[in-house]
């Protein structure tokens, strides 16, 4: 008696199950420009590192003739593997099997690997490619979604959770990615919406294509649901592999330290910024001028471009950058930029990543649409996130720091550990133009030449208040520095903050304005 027969039988069964939906379905998947679930996992993980579980799981549908159908793996592949030799957990919905629809066992497989990821404190990567709930399984599908959302929430802030949208992700299914830390989308492949174009047309008579309603660019630029946009699956996988180098494996660790590199940017930092605070420049050039190897990995590049967020390294350590972007909307704060920055700050705080804030911001975006969209409560998220964060927090004020925005952008008053200002910084309640109109209203109105008087008074205000020295005289700014000193100051301030302890009163959790 030998094992041979059993082994051959096992191999045959495996081979069959690994085919997923079979040749025809795979052909269809490829024709849509998509890779199969198995290829995707392989592309993300280290070579030959993937180990699969639950390959032989069968669905439990017993209605509508479902009992006669064989759905290999129940439309989802789960397993563990490594990235850069570090363990990760992964699942990938297999669209070739019943459209990747989610039934009871499909969901159980996902929650099994989620539980594992949380217990083992390793990152979880979820690849979404599913037509939605398996309608034949009724409420069991809904139960499955709910159990996934619950685990996404419990694991939030403990392990990194990455969602990759490589196909449809519609209806309730969208809420799992929305609860995770980073959402990756690919042009012409990702489709996310609560209500699809068909329903919208039949109920409302509004006609819109899937790509326009919930395509990759819509979620990157308009809704802010997606963090990374790629033009192909391969580009997307490269982004995931890059992101993972910047983040720690769980909330008890720090991100891996890399070899120190000097910035590659050759332009002097003073040449990047126009002295006139009304003129724009790309704040990302400043970030690149202070980060190791000038390597800045931007997050949410297309959404709320008036604020820039992302990771870079200083002395080999991951830093979260939050920076106003004068190139877009003059770098104002508004609903979307506050929301974008606040969530990122909370991510950095949860995962022990120090935050560097670069400030050049003329205030809040004026307008009825902003007020009615709730700029008060969205703006409050930013104050909350900065105040709450206990990781090292350093601010550099480059030019404008006016009014409420000055407070919001990690000011000393919200608990910044170090605040530096360039000599070009203007820290004031508002810009000289607005302030002069109010402070010197009477003089301007009564002057023989109001325009000339106004000009004079603006200059007077500028000389007196539009500088960093008033704030420095109160100790609100720790030091006024030369622009060329910025990197050195950041290096030192982050180094001396390395063992920062900031105890907060015990509480179950705060009540942030979201």
């Amino acid at each position: 008696m030998s094992f041979k027969r059993n082994i051959l039988d096992l191999r045959k069964r495996k081979k069959e199950a690994q085919q997923g939906g079979g040749e025809k379905a795979i052909e269809k998947q490829v024709a849509m420009g998509k890779k199969t679930a198995r290829e995707r996992i392989k592309a993300i993980l280290d070579e030959n590192s993937f180990h699969e579980y639950d390959l032989f799981v069968e669905h439990t549908g017993r209605d509508f003739d479902m009992e006669k159908k064989v759905l290999h793996g129940d439309g989802v592949i789960i397993g563990t593997g490594t990235m850069y030799n570090q363990p990760v957990a992964i699942y990938a919905q297999d669209f070739t099997v019943a459209g990747g629809s989610l039934g009871l066992m499909h969901a159980r497989k996902i929650t099994k690997i989620m539980d594992h990821a949380l217990k083992m404190r390793v990152p979880l990567i979820g690849i979404n490619d599913s037509g939605g709930a398996r309608i034949q399984e009724g409420v069991n599908s809904l139960a499955g979604y709910g159990e996934i959302f619950y685990r996404n929430t419990i694991a939030s802030g403990v392990i990194p959770q990455i969602s990759v949208i490589l196909g449809p992700c519609a209806g309730g299914a969208v809420y799992s990615p929305a609860l995770t830390d980073f959402v990756f989308v690919v042009e012409n492949i990702s489709k996310m919406f609560i209500t699809g174009p068909g329903v919208i047309k039949s109920v409302l008579g509004e006609e819109i294509s899937m790509e326009e309603l919930g395509g990759a660019m819509v979620h990157s630029e308009i809704t802010g649901n997606a963090h990374f946009f790629a033009r192909s699956e391969d580009e997307c996988f490269a982004q995931i592999k890059k992101l993972i180098t910047f983040i720690p494996w769980n909330n008890a660790q720090k991100a891996l330290k890399f070899p120190i590199q000097e910035p590659k940017i050759t332009k002097s930092i003073e040449e990047i910024v126009p002295v006139d605070p009304h003129n724009p420049y790309d704040i990302r050039d400043i970030i690149k001028a202070v980060t190791d190897g000038s390597d800045f990995f931007e997050i949410m590049e297309y959404f709320a471009k008036n604020i820039v967020i992302g990771f870079g390294r200083i002395q080999g350590n991951t830093i979260g950058f939050v920076a106003n972007q004068p190139m877009y909307l003059a770098g104002v704060l508004d609903c979307d930029s506050s929301d974008k920055a606040a969530r990122f700050i909370r991510y950095c705080d949860a995962f022990n990543i120090p935050i560097v804030t670069l400030e050049d911001m003329p205030g809040y975006l004026p307008g009825v649409d902003q007020e009615h969209a709730g700029v008060i409560r969205h703006g409050a998220k930013l104050l909350y996130a900065y105040s709450e964060a206990t990781v090292p927090k350093v601010t550099v004020i480059i030019r404008k720091a006016y009014g409420g925005g000055y407070i919001a952008m990690n000011s000393r008053h919200l608990g910044a550990d170090f605040v530096f200002a360039w000599p070009t910084a203007e820290i004031a309640v508002m810009g000289p133009e607005g302030a002069a109109n109010i402070v010197f209203k009477k003089e301007i109105d009564e002057a023989e030449n109001p325009a000339e008087m106004r000009k004079q008074k603006i200059q007077e205000y500028k000389d007196k208040f539009a500088n960093p020295f008033v704030a420095a005289s109160k100790g609100y700014i720790d030091e006024v520095i030369e622009p060329s000193e910025t990197r050195a100051r950041l290096i030192h301030s982050l180094e001396v903050s390395g063992s920062k302890v900031d105890q907060r009163p015990a509480k179950k959790h705060g009540v942030p304005p979201f």
Binding site: V203, G205, E221, P326, Y328, L329, G363, G434
Partner: protein, 106 residues
Amino acid sequence: MEDNSLNYQIFVVNSAKYLTLTTTKYDRRKKYLPIDPKEVRSIIPGSIIDILVTPGQVLKAGEVLLILDAMKMYTQIEMPFDGVIKSIHIEKGDRIPKNTVMITIE
């Protein structure tokens, strides 16, 4: 999409003029229009099931103007104040989007 043309515009914040680019979402924002209480608008998309009034009719606040079917519910749309029906802009069976002016009153 990425704006490569670098079409800088003047942008005013607190009386100061800044040179900057705008975003697609900013460009697409809707201009605020004050609400005219004399226009009865749909606050939800739906279908007109029935119109219970005719132009010229004198009504008291709270009287039902029409029935709108939206999200599987029949909603009675009421007269907001005492007045006269000036004009009706919809027909029975119409499928209307949100914020459509249905009836004008005086």
